[in-house]
Every structure is written in structure tokens, then in C-alpha cells.
């Protein structure tokens, strides 16, 4: 069983090496199938590990590969482990990851960088697996940075386009800002606990009193990393730009890998966070604010992928809200359901873009329902799932978050509910504008409208099925059924659960909350339908005059512009000043002055010497130094 653990990440690594080194020598279909095949086998192995953990009392399977870094008392191994939490992530990463690979075979078929693309996808999966399988923070950090690299490579995949390159660079830089927090968090963990191994850190942490400053500091520093990687305020700006990459990449980044890393990290370190309620509160606050903030931006975006990108930021906010309330299982639950429907939505969007010949502006779409029936149907399912309409996947996980919020903090609940109202609106707006009404594109596009090939629609159908039934792994207790996910994950969160006050709300209240949420969402959907289908309204064209608030939102609150004017440009300016003024005019001029002064003074005593500058310097330095030494001695 332990050997199998190593197989999970090694297979995609192998795929990366074979497809990467094979390059153009491998045929497109062969490299596509190799890359997909290795992930599929990883998925099968992950399934075996999952059933093994599910049936046995064993809580963890691990394998030590080799010693990695050691210095003095510090040491870190490359050890891989699988416990229930990791196991869930493995299934999502390899399962959804495989579907995305499969989809890419069709989607990327005509791209000249086809093989390179698949090698990068494999590498991405490898690093994400490493991230969730490490048995210490350092290995997590390897994966953490590795997915950053892969996102860079894939966002800037079409590297002749410099705006894509900028998006890729931005993603990496913003991620690195977060990574610095993570790195400092690790140092503090090492200084405090003398180790970076989860088992040692968490077992010692248990004996700390709640809200000890060092725990708050550790958890907040790590959280800075999560804010970067999982695109929360104020470091979310890279994610919407990240859609510059080919569409399957967006699906991979938004659903199966990368952005869920922050959730995993907090869930993994749950005992540290549980013992730092102050940090938890901040996590929840950032989460809920991001959830609403990003949802408002989603309302006025007209690029099909941008809408989805902001919805990811928003949904991640919900996950952090859940984490911040100590509802770790709920957050993981939402990771899973979100992976299904968000992968589905992005791949569906890809299918639409494919049919539209690259067009991404929903104002130029419309009426695609009849041309792309499978895409439409699956996209509809995804939209229903993300909007939280029962019995689809998103309903149960989101409802669980809102129920916790209701018990925990009514303001969070209200904001969360508001966010889900916005979500339902912008998602159905997207759906209606894309698939309903009449076609608004060019005549040329209309003639080429076609349903995508099977390699694209099959992943859509599978993901749609998962988006329908995915929620059943976590049915609410009010239904008098077993919360499967909760019981499976319970060993991981046991220590935290002991310390958390259970969020007690009666079943009656829970039913009432569900009913309320459902009614409001349905009303919102009808409103959207009325606006975009019945009345056939269209979003404004670019540059059309807007009132202040919509303008602010349509420009994404000018956050990018603010960062650029107040951080990026001033720093670049300082660099230039340092170079042109400090370095040349001050420091170097001073050096030259000292040199010249020496020459000048040696000129005065020329009578006694031969004129060799080296000699003068020698004598001068020697005498000065001897004098200094004499004084101090």
C-alpha cells in the first residue's frame, strides 16, 4: 500500500518527462493519451487508497522517499502521505484533472504547442499532488510554488502575445507575495516547534492555550500565503487575468488544482487555526468580504471566462468563510462540489468559445441553445449547481456554509446569503445571454456554429452528472441521513472538533433557512429571466455612459489601476532613482572622490616617492590602519 502512495505523484511526473522530452517526436494523439493515461492511473490508485482508508482503521499511509534538506538541527524529508483529507483532494485532483486532460485532447488538437501543453498539464497535476501529499510544510511549499510555476507556464502558453505574458507574470508575482508569508510562517513554525513535520507540529500545538500570540502569528502568516494562492482580497487580482491561458487551463486552475491549495493548507493546519480564534475570525472576514465583493464584479462582466473567474474568487470566499467558522469539513465539501461544477462551467465555456471561433464576449453570442444542445444542457446543470438550487451539488455545500454562518454570526449569514443571490443572478445572466435569445455574432460565425466533438462533450456529461449527485456525499443531518464526508474526514479534524463549540441550530431552523434561500434564488432567477430573455435586454457596449456605481463595478473597482499607480510604478521609479542618482551620483562619486583625494595628497608628497599610485595607497591605508589599531589597542 505504501508503494502505491508514491505512485500517485510519480506517474504524472513521468508523463511530464516523457511528453516533455519527447517533444515533437511523439505524435499528438500519443502524447495526449500518455498524459491523460498517467493521470487516469493516478486516479485509480487514489481510489484504491481511498477505499483502503475507508475500510481500515489506519488513519494514514506514508512513504519516505529521501532526505531532502538538512542543516544543524533542521531537517526535512521528502515524505509522502495519504490520510482522509489528502485522499479527498487526490480524488478531486486526479479525477477532475483526468477529465480536463481528456477534454484537452480535443480542445488543443490543432494547436502547434499541443505536446508542450500536455507536458505542462502533467507537471501541474504533479505539483498539486505533492502539495497535498507532503508530510511536512516544506513539501507542501514545494507543491505550493510548483503550481505557481505551472500556472505561469500555462497562462502564458501562447507566448507570442505579450498581454498573456503579462498576465502570466502577474500571476507568479502575486503568488510570490503570498508565498513570502507562507515562508515566514514556516520559519516561525520551525523556531517554535523545532520541526516542520505535521505530526510533530500538531501534536505539540495541542498543548498551547487558545490565542497564544505565536499561534496567531503563524496562522496569519500562513494565511497570507493562502490569500495569494486562493485569490482572496487583496491578492485576488491575478486570477481573473489568468484566463489568458487556454480554457482547459482555467478549468484546471479554478477547479482541480491551485486555488484550492489555500483551503487545503488551512484545513491541514486546522488545529493551529482552531487554537487561534483571532486568526479564524480574520479568515472568515476576508472570506465573506471576498465572496460578496467578487460577486458584485461578476454582475457586470461581459467576458464569459471573466464572469466565471470572479465566481471562483467569490466561491473561494465562501470556503474561507467556512474555514473561519471552524467548519473545516464544510469547506472541503464545497471544494469538492465546486470542483465539479466549476470545471464543468469552464469546459462548457471552452466548448462555446470553440464553436464561436474564439469569441468570448457574451454580448456577441446568444441563441446557442439549439446549436450546442449538449453544451447548453450541461452548462445549465452547472449554473443550477453553482446557484444553489436543490438537489444539485452546490446547494448542499453552500447551504451547510450558510447554516454555520447563521449559528455563528448573523451578519456573515446575511452577507453570505446576499452573495448567493448575486451569484444566482450573474450566473443566470451569463446563461441567458449566451444560450437564449437570438444570435448576435457575425454571419460567418453563425455558419460555423457546431456542437463540439465527443472528447469534449463526454467530460462535460460526466462533470454534469457529478454536479447533480455530488452533493449527496454531505446530506444535512436534518435529513436524518449520514454525512458521509464528515464521518470520513472526522479523524483529521477530531482535535479541532473537541475544541470547537458545535454550531447548534434546530432542524426546524435549518429547514426554514433552506426554504428561504431556495425561494430567494428562484425569485432572482426569474428576475434575470425577465430581464434578459423576456425583455431581451443586453449589457451596455464598452464606452457607453454609465452612472457612478455601475461604472465603478464594471471597472472592477479600479483595484488593478490602484495597485499599478500606488505600488508598481512608484517602486519602479525608486529603482530608477537608486540607479541614476544613488548609485552613480552618490555612492560611486564618493568612491571616486576618495580615490582622487588619495592621488591628490600623494602628489603633495611626490618629492619623496616615485609616483606609483599603488604605493601611495598602500602607505596611506597602512598608516591609517596602524593608527586605528594603535588607538584601540
Amino acid at each position: 500500500m505504501t508503494k502505491l502512495v508514491a505512485l500517485v505523484p510519480i506517474l504524472p511526473l513521468l508523463g511530464f518527462v516523457i511528453v516533455g522530452l519527447g517533444g515533437k517526436k511523439l505524435s499528438k494523439s500519443l502524447s495526449g493519451w500518455i498524459a491523460s493515461g498517467v493521470v487516469l492511473i493516478s486516479f485509480v490508485v487514489s481510489l484504491i487508497l481511498f477505499f483502503h482508508l475507508n475500510q481500515n482503521s489506519e488513519q494514514e499511509v506514508s512513504i519516505k522517499l529521501f532526505d531532502w534538506i538538512a542543516a544543524g538541527r533542521f531537517s526535512a524529508d521528502l515524505t509522502l502521505m495519504v490520510d482522509p483529507l489528502t485522499s479527498i483532494f487526490l480524488l478531486v485532483i486526479t479525477g477532475v484533472g483526468f477529465l480536463i486532460h481528456l477534454y484537452s485532447i480535443g480542445y488543443m488538437h490543432d494547436d502547434e504547442g499541443h505536446n508542450k501543453f500536455f507536458s505542462y498539464l502533467n507537471l501541474f497535476v504533479f505539483f498539486m499532488l505533492l502539495l497535498v501529499m507532503g508530510s511536512n510544510f516544506l513539501v507542501m511549499y514545494v507543491g505550493w510554488e510548483g503550481v505557481g510555476l505551472c500556472s505561469y507556464l500555462l497562462i502564458g502558453f501562447w507566448h507570442k502575445n505579450n498581454s498573456y505574458n503579462n498576465a502570466a507574470k502577474k500571476a507568479f508575482i502575486v503568488n510570490r507575495i503570498g508565498d513570502l508569508g507562507f515562508l515566514l510562517g514556516m520559519f516561525l513554525i520551525y523556531v517554535t516547534f523545532g520541526s516542520l513535520n505535521y505530526s510533530e507540529v500538531f501534536s505539540q500545538a495541542k498543548f498551547y492555550v487558545s490565542d497564544e500570540p505565536v499561534l496567531i502569528a503563524i496562522t496569519l502568516l500562513l494565511f497570507v500565503g493562502a490569500v495569494g494562492k486562493s485569490a482572496q482580497l487583496p491578492l485576488y487580482t491575478w486570477l481573473p487575468d489568468a484566463m489568458a491561458g487556454p480554457t482547459p487551463v482555467s478549468a484546471l486552475i479554478h477547479a482541480a488544482t491551485m486555488v484550492t491549495a489555500g483551503i487545503y493548507m488551512v484545513a491541514r493546519s486546522n488545529i493551529l487555526y482552531t487554537l487561534a480564534p483571532t486568526s479564524l475570525h480574520i479568515v472568515a472576514l476576508i472570506g465573506v468580504i471576498t465572496a460578496v465583493f467578487a460577486a458584485t464584479i461578476g454582475l457586470l462582466q461581459n467576458d464569459i471566462k471573466k464572469v466565471l473567474a470572479y465566481s471562483t474568487v467569490s466561491q473561494l470566499g465562501y470556503m474561507f468563510l467556512a474555514l473561519g467558522m471552524g467548519a473545516y469539513t464544510t469547506a472541503v465539501f464545497h471544494v469538492v462540489t465546486h470542483a465539479f461544477f466549476k470545471a464543468l462551467l469552464f469546459l462548457g465555456a471552452g466548448s462555446v468559445i470553440h464553436a464561436m471561433g474564439g469569441e468570448q464576449d457574451i454580448r456577441k453570442m446568444g441563441g446557442l441553445k439549439s446549436h450546442l444542445p449538449t453544451t447548453y444542457l450541461t452548462f445549465l446543470i452547472g449554473t443550477i449547481a453553482i446557484s444553489g438550487i436543490p438537489p444539485f451539488a452546490g446547494f448542499f455545500s453552500k447551504d451547510e456554509i450558510l447554516a454555520h454562518a447563521f449559528a455563528h454570526n448573523k451578519i456573515f449569514w446575511l452577507l453570505g446569503l446576499g452573495g448567493s443571490v448575486l451569484t444566482a443572478f450573474y450566473m443566470f445572466r451569463l446563461l441567458y445571454l449566451t444560450f437564449f435569445g437570438s444570435f448576435r455574432g457575425t454571419h460567418h460565425q453563425q455558419q460555423h456554429l457546431h456542437e463540439s466533438p465527443k472528447s469534449i462533450t463526454i467530460p462535460l456529461i460526466v462533470l454534469a452528472a457529478l454536479s447533480v449527485v455530488g452533493g449527496f456525499i454531505g446530506l444535512p443531518e436534518a435529513f436524518h441521513t449520514k454525512h458521509l464526508l464528515k464521518s470520513f474526514l472526522s479523524p483529521v479534524f477530531a482535535d479541532s472538533d473537541l475544541r470547537m463549540l458545535p454550531a447548534e441550530i434546530t432542524h426546524a431552523t435549518e429547514y426554514a433557512l433552506m426554504a428561504l434561500a431556495i425561494i430567494i434564488v428562484i425569485v432572482v432567477v426569474l428576475l434575470a429571466r425577465n430581464k434578459y430573455v423576456v425583455k431581451g435586454e443586453l449589457p451596455l457596449q464598452d464606452g457607453a455612459p454609465m452612472t457612478a456605481l455601475p461604472k465603478l463595478i464594471a471597472h472592477k473597482y479600479y483595484v488593478d489601476e490602484i495597485y499599478d499607480s500606488f505600488i508598481v510604478k512608484p517602486l519602479h521609479w525608486i529603482g530608477t532613482i537608486f540607479y541614476r542618482f544613488m548609485d552613480i551620483q552618490v555612492i560611486d562619486a564618493l568612491v571616486n572622490f576618495v580615490g582622487k583625494a588619495t592621488v591628490w595628497s600623494s602628489d603633495r608628497v611626490r618629492l619623496i616617492q616615485t609616483g606609483k599610485i599603488g604605493y601611495y595607497v598602500f602607505v596611506m591605508v597602512l598608516s591609517v590602519a596602524l593608527l586605528l589599531l594603535y588607538i584601540s589597542y
Binding site: F66, I69, A71, K160, L188, V591, V621
Partner: protein, 483 residues
């Protein structure tokens, strides 16, 4: 004995080439440097992992003054020697793209330089150390002066004077220590350590600056760095490589061997000041690197930033900081060599180093772009590349002194990406233009060198442990000496 051979062989080969090398100089030099590499690998194979200095040669030289020809290698020295013996053949091989005039002098000087560098890394006698230290300056001075670019006379002379002034401070410090050695005076390092430890705090403090100035100018540490960018830019590529990938490590190595254990109380008193300077330098040089339009100068400033972190780690004076420093010296040597080589290839093919004139190379030379990418990942310390283990330990070491220092030093992981990825994008990505459209994928020896660099970046990143094991006992020894 092996140590002595390692010193003697390049000297003999160098002198031979100067006198009789002729047109085949570069091949002879390459062969000699490869034999040297082989010998150093034999030393690696025979090395016992402990704190002892091994392969000792200790013969009296000027007995009346207590000077001996005392050379040997402990773990740290061995690693520095390996850095030198691995990079020298690569540097010589990389010159095969150029046809230097007077090749016998050029390659002879490179080998003599190698001799001096190995001498610096193995000398255990203060006087001998000083001799090698100064000796190293002479060949590189001529290499820069005779084969350098525009304005070379003025710039090289400044470099020469600047570093020599530093060395003189060191000489004075060493003589002062020598005078205070117990019993019959000696330049033996152990005796000098004993002398240093016996000194009063004020004396240790003064000596600290004497030694530090010499080492800091060599590295260079902010604000003593202004000779460096000009020299790197004006030197011929192989000169730049010698300076940046090996010679600057003299300063760091010397700080570990000849400063920390020499005047521990002096170090105690000023380590914080040095760390602040070094960390200031990291941010300062990174921001300047970002503003550069000349690729070679950008690499020069990035080197100052990287060395700043190494210096900060050294003066954090703990096991993590020192291990990080030793490891990073090797990684930085490889990476900066590779970067200057890449910049050389680009410049030779496109006739420009200006970032604004470049672009799109990746679309016609994907292999070259991939190696550049790998080296860049090493340079920005991505995990599983050679840049990470060192940088992680350095920052870890710094953190143990002050979390604030680590925060500011850690900004390097952000700014490093800003300027390196910026440079990568401006050279490799985007559309081709007039300067780059005829770029050709490097072939032959260039390709081999690039592949070796890429392989080293990844191999050391995944398996750094053997290097840590070799250095560990020596580092513990130095830390014990500091107590």
C-alpha cells in the same frame, strides 16, 4: 598531497600555455582543466565526512617568520574547490564561441587564476592566504584590461585599486593577529584564531572591520559594490564569469573561515550592522536590476542582491545560515555562469544586449528558451531547483536573528521574479523582431554547456543532501570556534 597537486597543476599548465600554447591553447587549457576536475573528484571520493582538514600539505616556508606552505581541505574548502574545478572547464569551453587574440595569454591567465582561487580556498596559513588572495587579482585584472570592452582601462583600474585597498586592510589585520600569536609567532590559522580570541573587545572590533572590508569589497556588499556592475559589463564574458561565479565567493568563503572564528566578539558586535547593510543591498540592487535596460548589467545587479542574502546568512552565524551560504555559493556560481553565458549567446547572435531590442526568441529556439527558463527558476529559488535549498536555509538563518530582517530579505523572492521574469519576457517571449529573427538554436559546445547547466540546476535542487553532509561537520566546527 592532492591539494598541492590541485594548486600546482593549473599553474604549470598555465605557464606552459603562455610560453608554448600557440593556436591550440584553448584545447590544452580545456584538457588541463578537465584533468583538474578529475583530480578534485578523486579528492571528493576519498574525502572522509568529518571536520578534519584533509589532504594536508604543510611545509615550512619562511621558518623565521612562522610562515608555512600549509594547504588542506575540510568540507567547505572541498566544496569551493569543486565549484572552481567544475566551472573552470565550463568557462574555458564557453569561450570556444569567441576567437580571442593572443589565446596563449588568455587561457594561461585563466588557469593561473584557477590556481590562485584554489589556493585561497585551501590555504591554512594567513600569509599564504593573503598571497593567493592578491595573486587572484592579477590574472583577472589583465583579462579584463586586455580583452575587455569599451572604457576598460579606467574601469579595470578602479576595480583593481578598490579591491586592493580592501586587501591591504586585511593584511594589516593579519599582521596584527600574527604579532599577537602566543609563543613563537606564526601565521598558522589555528595560531591566528588563538590570537584573535585572546584579544580585547575593542581590538577585536577594529580587526573585524579590517578583515570585513577586504571581504565585503570582494563580494561585494552594499555600499561597497559600485566597482562591480561596470567591471562585469566591461570584462570579456569569460572574465565576468570568473569574477561572478567564482571570485566573489572568495569574499564569502573568507568571511566564514577567516572572520567569524577569528574575532568572534567583533563579529558579535557588528553582525547586525552587516546584516542590515546586506539586506539593504538586496532590496536596493533588486530594484535597480528591475530598472536596467542592459541584460548583462541586470544580471550584475541581480548578483549583488543574491550575494546580499548570502552575506546576511553568513552573519546570522547559525548552522542554517552557514549551510545556506555554502550551498548558495555553489548554486549561485552555476546560475550566474549560466546567465552570463546565455546573455553572451544572445549578444553574439543579435549584436545587442538591450532588452528593449530583443524578444520572441522562444518561438525559434525553444530548447535554448527552456534552459534559460530552468536557470531562471534556479535564480528565483523555485523549490526543486538549486536555488531553493540555499535560499530557504539562508532566510531561515536570518529569521532566527530577527523576523524583521527575514521579512525584508525575503522580499528578494518577489523582486527576483519581477526583474528576472521581466528580462525573460523581453528576450524570449512576444514577437520576433529585426534583431532576433535570425536567432539560431545554439548547437555544439554551446548546447552541451547549456544542458550541463540545466541538469545541475535540477539535480542539486532535488538532491542537495550530499552537499549538506559534506559541509555539516566543518560548519559545526566553525560554530564551536565562535563560542
Amino acid at each position: 598531497m592532492l591539494t598541492a597537486i590541485l594548486i600546482a597543476l593549473p599553474l604549470i599548465a598555465g605557464l606552459f600555455i603562455i610560453t608554448a600554447g600557440g593556436a591550440s591553447s584553448r584545447r590544452i587549457a580545456l584538457a588541463a582543466s578537465l584533468i583538474e576536475l578529475l583530480i578534485s573528484l578523486i579528492a571528493l571520493g576519498q574525502f572522509q565526512i568529518n571536520a578534519e582538514s584533509q589532504f594536508v600539505l604543510n611545509i615550512p616556508w619562511v621558518s623565521s617568520l612562522g610562515i608555512s606552505f600549509h594547504v588542506a581541505m575540510d568540507g567547505i574548502s572541498l566544496l569551493m574547490v569543486l565549484l572552481t574545478t567544475v566551472l573552470t572547464p565550463l568557462i574555458i569551453y564557453s569561450s570556444f564561441s569567441h576567437n580571442y587574440e593572443k589565446p596563449q595569454s588568455f587561457y594561461g591567465l585563466i588557469l593561473i587564476m584557477q590556481m590562485a582561487l584554489i589556493g585561497v580556498f585551501t590555504a591554512l596559513d594567513g600569509f599564504l592566504f593573503y598571497i593567493f588572495w592578491e595573486l587572484a587579482l592579477i590574472p583577472i585584472y589583465f583579462i579584463c584590461l586586455l580583452w575587455g570592452g569599451e572604457n576598460r582601462a579606467k574601469i579595470t583600474f578602479k576595480f583593481f585599486l578598490y579591491t586592493m585597498v580592501g586587501s591591504l586592510f586585511m593584511l594589516v589585520a593579519l599582521i596584527y593577529l600574527y604579532v599577537h600569536t602566543p609563543g613563537a609567532h606564526s601565521f598558522n590559522i589555528e595560531a591566528l584564531y588563538a590570537a584573535g580570541h585572546s584579544l580585547s573587545l575593542p581590538a577585536q572590533r577594529t580587526l573585524f572591520w579590517g578583515l570585513f572590508l577586504a571581504f565585503a569589497i570582494k563580494m561585494p556588499v552594499f555600499p561597497l559594490h559600485t566597482w562591480q556592475p561596470d567591471t562585469y559589463v566591461v570584462a570579456p564574458t569569460q572574465g565576468t564569469m570568473l569574477l561572478s561565479s567564482i571570485m566573489l565567493k572568495m569574499g564569502i568563503y573568507a568571511a566564514i573561515r577567516w572572520l567569524l572564528p577569528m574575532v568572534p566578539q567583533g563579529v558579535d558586535a557588528y553582525a547586525q550592522v552587516v546584516m542590515i547593510l546586506a539586506i539593504t543591498g538586496i532590496i536596493y540592487a533588486s530594484l535597480i536590476a528591475w530598472s536596467q535596460v542592459d541584460f548583462k548589467r541586470l544580471i550584475a545587479y541581480s548578483s549583488i542582491a543574491h550575494v546580499g542574502l548570502i552575506a546576511a546568512g553568513v552573519f546570522s552565524a547559525n548552522a542554517q545560515g552557514l549551510q545556506g551560504a555554502v550551498f548558495q555559493m555553489l548554486s549561485h556560481g552555476i546560475n550566474v555562469f549560466a546567465l552570463f553565458f546565455i546573455s553572451d549567446i544572445i549578444e553574439r547572435q543579435t549584436k545587442t544586449r538591450l532588452l528593449g531590442n530583443l524578444g520572441g526568441i522562444r518561438s525559434i529556439a525553444p530548447r535554448f528558451a527552456t534552459v534559460f527558463m530552468i536557470v531562471m527558476m534556479g535564480s528565483v529559488a523555485l523549490p526543486l531547483t538549486n536555488g531553493f535549498p540555499g535560499e530557504f536555509l539562508l532566510l531561515n538563518g536570518v529569521y532566527q536573528v530577527s523576523s524583521m530582517y527575514a521579512l525584508f530579505a525575503g522580499v528578494t523572492i518577489i523582486l527576483g521574479v519581477v526583474y528576472m521574469f521581466g528580462a525573460y519576457q523581453k528576450t524570449m517571449l512576444g514577437e520576433l523582431n529585426a534583431a532576433t529573427e535570425k536567432f539560431e538554436e545554439p548547437q555544439g559546445h554551446e548546447n552541451i554547456i547549456l544542458l550541463i547547466c540545466g541538469a545541475l540546476v535540477i539535480a542539486l535542487g532535488i538532491f542537495p543532501k550530499p552537499i549538506f553532509s559534506i559541509a555539516e561537520p566543518s560548519i559545526q566546527h566553525i560554530l564551536e570556534l565562535m563560542r
